[in-house]
């Protein structure tokens, strides 16, 4: 009897996983395809850009500065052993622009903005705001989900670029102003080894992909959550866990494609 129950549970879990995958796909499709009327959509998008992007700016800027400072210190101490402190600029810029900028921004973004999106949409569902919207003929996917999705996709690369720029500046603070590296070699070596379309553009592509992944997961988890307070809390946790895992996994794939050499 217990074995039959096990099989039943397995089947139920598989069907449930398939269903949520399908529902997530439908939401993504509708958020992208449904082109809203610009008169109503632009103010909605701007409002979401404010809460998703501008309000995340402080944590992004502060983390970028500290990561730049740490990279400067660690890199200097490691490179000094090989007598090549002058490569510090290259080290800091490559690490930030290629990897840490997009990835750390996406992780912070998932914690700061993704969880808020899930909780907001989840609470709307629990208090039946979404259902009443449908009742008066407003499509909640168009009114609630689409602007939040697009705001996340737009804000993510902007935040990542700001993160990298502040980080490079932080590395300069440590290397040049504190440890006395010659500023010409910091910037000069950086400029001669960084290539715009290879390093910076690939970093931006990465952050756009992460933006899609994180906001998609956040919006879907909110829209699909169980409409109770417990369900909202579970959905919020799932958003942070799933988007962190998705970001790290996607980062490996993207890095292999972009820099793996095949």
């Amino acid at each position: 009897m217990a074995a039959v129950e096990q099989v039943r549970r397995l089947g139920e879990g598989t069907i449930e996983a398939l269903r949520s995958l399908g529902a997530a796909g439908v939401i993504l499709w509708q958020a992208i395809v449904m082109v809203p009327r610009p008169r109503t959509a632009v103010p909605l998008l701007v409002r979401q850009l404010y809460s998703v992007g501008v309000l995340s700016l402080v944590i992004i800027a502060v983390s970028g500065l500290f990561i730049g400072l740490v990279l400067g210190l660690q890199g200097y101490n490691i490179l000094k052993d090989y007598g090549s402190e002058s490569a510090l600029g290259t080290f800091v810029a490559k690490t930030l622009v290629r990897e840490l900028g997009p990835v750390v921004t996406a992780l912070l973004f998932a914690g700061r903005a993704g969880s808020a999106l899930t909780a907001e949409i989840g609470l709307m569902k629990a208090t039946e705001q979404l259902a009443s919207m449908e009742m008066i003929g407003v499509d909640p996917l168009r009114r609630i989900v689409a602007p939040r999705f697009w705001a996340g996709v737009i804000a993510m690369p902007v935040l990542a670029v700001i993160f990298s720029a502040i980080g490079v500046f932080g590395g300069k603070l440590i290397g040049v102003d504190w440890l006395g590296l010659y500023s010409g070699s910091y910037w000069g070596n950086m400029q001669s080894s960084m290539v715009f379309d290879k390093d910076i553009l690939n970093g931006i592509i990465k952050s756009v992909v992460f933006g899609v992944a994180v906001t998609w997961i956040a919006v879907f988890q909110g829209y699909d959550c169980e409409p109770t307070s417990e369900g909202i809390s579970r959905a919020t946790t799932r958003t942070v866990v799933y988007s962190s895992l998705a970001v790290l996994g996607l980062d490996f794939i993207l890095t292999a494609v972009m820099f793996g050499g095949f």
Partner: protein, 161 residues
Amino acid sequence: MRMRTIEITVGLFMLAGILALAFLALKVSGLSADGSQPTYRLYAHYQNTGGLAVRAKVTMAGVAIGRVSAIQLDPKTLTAKVTIDIYKSVNQISDDSVASILTAGLLGEQYIGIVPGASDTMLDGSDKHNEIEQTQSALVLEDLIGKFLFNKATADKPAAP
């Protein structure tokens, strides 16, 4: 908060992003360093280019005066044919200048250093005057060590009984 204030803050946010991108493009990747200035084209043949890469800088007296734009194998002479773009503002490279491949620091990048000669004929990129004849290949550390060991071995030989 009022809609107008929100719009202005979002505008500032996007502006900060554009400025950061401009900073990354100009200051970090040095995008403006080439392309903007008009250049003329010279060629140089090397036995061995070592680790010279496309976009490596070309200097005279330590000042960047151009960039390497292509490195190919010359199928006739089986030497490396390096294409160099020199800024038009630098037109004082005589045809007996020496172009050597140098290394910046211990682990640094390789670049081409041009030492001017004494001839009155200047290279200007025209078909007749576009080849730097005198070149000096990159120093390959393994070759040097090999030579050193070989010399040491031959020098030690007479001492043996």
